[in-house]
C-alpha cells in the first residue's frame, strides 16, 4: 500500500502542475519542461532521501526493544544507518521502474545534467541529504525517550506533512517571492530535495552552489551534535521498559 501511496502522491503533484500549465506558459522561472523535469528529480529524491525506515527507532525506544541493541557491542546508530540504506535501495528498486512506466505513459520529457561533473556532484548531494534527513529523523525518534506512551507517530505524521511542503517535494521553492526563497535557503529542510534538484538541473550559479553546500554542512554538523546530546540525555532517563 505504501508503494501505491508513493505513486499516487507523484500523480497528484503531476496532475496539479499539468492543469496549471494548460493555463500558463511559465510559472516563475519555470517552463513546462523544466517544471516536469524538476518534479521527476524531486520524486526520485523523495523516494531516496525522505524514504527512511528509521522512524521505527522511536517504536523500539517506546517498547523496550532498544535493550537488545544496548546490551551488545554494537552501534545502534550505525545499525540504523545500515538498515536505512538497505531500505532506501529496496524502495528505489520498486520506485524507479514505476517512475519509468509513468514517464512512458504520460510522455514526460526527460532532462539530464549537462556533464558528468554535475552527475557526480548531484550524487554526493543526494547522499549528504539522506544523511541529513537520517539525523533529523533520529532526532524526532528520540522524542520517545520522554514520551514513551505512544510510538511517536503523531509527531512523525506532523513532520512528514510539513516536509512535503518545506523540502520542495511538491513544487520548487524558488517560485515564491525573493524573501521567502532566501528564508528557505537557510532552513535545513530545503537541502533534502530542493537543493540537490536545482544542482541536477543546473539552475544554480557556482557561488550559490558553494554557499548552499556550506549551509548544508553546517546543518549536518548541528544535527550530528544535537543527536549526540539528545541521545546521551535520553539514555539517562531511558526506562528500559518492556517487562
Amino acid at each position: 500500500m505504501w508503494q501505491v501511496r508513493t505513486v499516487l502522491s507523484f500523480l497528484t503533484i503531476y496532475f496539479f502542475w499539468f492543469a496549471v500549465f494548460t493555463q500558463y506558459n511559465q510559472i516563475g522561472t519555470y517552463t513546462r519542461t523544466t517544471m516536469f523535469a524538476y518534479l521527476l528529480v524531486a520524486a526520485f529524491l523523495r523516494n531516496l532521501v525522505l524514504w527512511s525506515d528509521s522512524y521505527h527507532a522511536c517504536v523500539e525506544i517506546a517498547n523496550g526493544d532498544l535493550n537488545n541493541y544496548l546490551l551488545k557491542p554494537l552501534s545502534y546508530f550505525g545499525n540504523w544507518l545500515a538498515r536505512d540504506w538497505a531500505d532506501k535501495i529496496l524502495n528505489l528498486l520498486f520506485f524507479v521502474p514505476e517512475l519509468a512506466l509513468l514517464i512512458i505513459i504520460f510522455r514526460i520529457p526527460l532532462v539530464f545534467p549537462t556533464s558528468l561533473w554535475v552527475w557526480a556532484w548531484f550524487i554526493v548531494l543526494a547522499i549528504l541529504g539522506s544523511l541529513l534527513y537520517f539525523l533529523f529523523s533520529f532526532l524526532v525518534s528520540s522524542f520517545s525517550f520522554w514520551y514513551p506512551e505512544h510510538d511517536g507517530w503523531p509527531l512523525r505524521f506532523f513532520m512528514l506533512m510539513f516536509l512535503d511542503f518545506l523540502s520542495g517535494a511538491a513544487f520548487p521553492l524558488d517560485i515564491f517571492p525573493q524573501p521567502v526563497t532566501t528564508l528557505f535557503k537557510f532552513l535545513p529542510t530545503s537541502y533534502f530535495i530542493y537543493f540537490p534538484t536545482q544542482v541536477y538541473l543546473g539552475r544554480l550559479s557556482f557561488s550559490d552552489q558553494l554557499s548552499g553546500l556550506v549551509i548544508m554542512l553546517f546543518w549536518l554538523l548541528v544535527f550530528f551534535y544535537l543527536v549526540k546530546i539528545v541521545w546521551h540525555k535520553g539514555l539517562q532517563i531511558y526506562g528500559a521498559y518492556g517487562r
Binding site: L70, L71, K72, P73, I237, Y238, G239, A240, R243
Partner: protein, 329 residues
C-alpha cells in the same frame, strides 16, 4: 577483588499519575502530577568471581531494575556500580563482550528467523572466531538437547525450546558474567529442572559469575548458596540460604497426629502452642524455637498422640511471612 560491586545504588523512576477516564486524560494534558518511584533505594553488595547468587523478592521489589543497571541499560540515579572493572552505563564493547543478560519474558531472537540465523548474527556482533563458535554451539546444543530445532522459525518453537535457544544466543560468546532474570518463568517442572541443571553446569564449567532472579524458590534453593533478598528497593538479607532460617525463623513447626478425640479449646492449657492448622486427626502448631521441646513433651503427656514431627518452617513460608510483614510465630 569483587567482580561485581554495587555501592549505595539508587534508581528512581519518574512516573505521572493520571486520573481515570476522559476528564482525567484531559486534565493530564495541562497538569501532570509526577512522583518518584524508588525502584532501588540504597542497595550495596559485592559479588566474587564464580559466585552464583540468587536474587529474590516479590514483584516490583527492584530485582530487574538492579540487573538492568548492572547491564548498562539504566542510568543509576546515584551510587557506584562496577562490573568486571567497567562502569556498565559506558557500554564499552570490551565489557559487553564479557557479559550477558537473559530475560525470561523478553527475547532477543529474531521472531521470523530460525534460531541459527540469530546465532550467526551474534557471532558477527560479538566477533566470535568461527572455530570457537562452532565448538561452543555444538557444546551448548548438546547440553540443552537442541539438535532438531535450530533450523525452525523461532515463532514456531515451544516456550521451553525458545528459552533454551535464548540461553544459547546469550552464551555463544562465553560471557564471564551472566544475569538471568526469571529464566524458568512459565516453564513446566521438567524443563525448569533442565534449565537449572544447565545453569549449574555452566557456572562450574566456565567459572562464570551468575546472578539469578526467580520467583521459584526451587531455583534458588538448588542453585544458589548465597541469596540476596530485596523488597521495596532495599536489601534486607544477604547471606547463605540456611542462615535465613536461623535469622528469621524464631519458631518451629510441630506436626501431630492424634489417636483420640481432641477439640481446639483443649490446647488452651499450653499457651505457647499456637494452632496453625486444625484438620483432625492432624494438627499443626507453631511454637517458639526455645520452648519447642518443652511444648512437645507436654502435648505428648496430655493428649493421645499417634505421631509427632518437629520441623523447621520452609524457606518459602519464612520469606512469604517476612514480605507480608506478618508475625512468623
Amino acid at each position: 577483588m569483587a567482580l561485581i560491586s554495587v555501592s549505595h545504588l539508587k534508581k528512581y523512576y519518574r512516573v505521572y499519575k493520571k486520573e481515570p477516564g476522559l476528564s482525567g486524560s484531559l486534565k493530564s494534558l495541562f497538569h501532570r502530577k509526577y512522583e518518584d518511584v524508588k525502584a532501588v533505594n540504597n542497595v550495596s553488595f559485592d559479588i566474587k568471581e564464580g559466585e552464583l547468587v540468587g536474587f529474590i523478592g516479590p514483584n516490583g521489589a527492584g530485582k530487574t531494575t538492579t540487573l538492568k543497571v548492572l547491564s548498562g541499560l539504566l542510568y543509576p540515579t546515584s551510587g557506584k556500580v562496577s562490573v568486571l572493572g567497567f562502569i556498565p552505563f559506558d557500554r564499552q564493547p570490551q565489557f559487553q563482550k564479557q557479559f550477558s543478560l537473559v530475560m525470561g519474558q523478553k527475547n532477543q531472537l529474531w521472531w521470523d528467523l530460525p534460531a541459527l540465523d540469530s546465532f550467526l548474527l551474534n557471532k558477527e556482533i560479538y566477533e566470535i572466531p568461527t572455530q570457537q563458535f562452532n565448538q561452543t554451539l555444538a557444546e551448548l546444543v548438546k547440553m540443552l538437547d537442541l539438535g532438531e530445532v535450530l533450523k525452525v522459525q523461532v515463532r514456531k518453537l515451544s516456550l521451553g525450546q525458545r528459552m533454551k535457544c535464548e540461553l544459547v544466543a546469550a552464551l555463544l560468546h562465553l560471557p564471564k558474567v551472566l544475569f538471568l532474570d526469571e529464566p524458568t518463568i512459565g516453564l513446566d517442572v521438567v524443563m525448569q529442572q533442565k534449565i537449572r541443571d544447565f545453569i549449574k553446569g555452566y557456572n562450574q564449567k566456565y567459572k562464570a559469575t551468575i546472578i539469578l532472579t526467580s520467583h521459584y524458590m526451587d531455583d534458588v534453593k538448588e542453585l544458589c548458596s548465597r541469596v540476596i533478598i530485596i523488597d521495596k528497593g532495599k536489601i534486607f538479607f544477604d547471606g547463605k540460604l540456611d542462615a535465613i532460617i536461623k535469622k528469621y525463623a524464631d519458631h518451629k513447626i510441630l506436626e501431630l497426629v492424634f489417636s483420640g478425640p481432641v477439640t481446639k479449646s483443649d490446647f488452651s492449657v499450653i499457651p505457647a502452642a499456637k494452632i496453625k492448622d486444625f484438620d483432625l486427626p492432624r494438627v499443626t502448631f507453631s511454637v517458639p524455637r526455645d520452648s519447642a521441646n518443652e511444648v512437645a513433651a507436654k502435648l505428648l503427656t496430655k493428649f493421645p498422640v499417634a505421631d509427632l514431627n518437629i520441623t523447621e518452617p520452609s524457606i518459602e513460608d519464612i520469606i512469604r511471612e517476612v514480605f507480608t510483614g506478618r508475625d512468623m510465630s
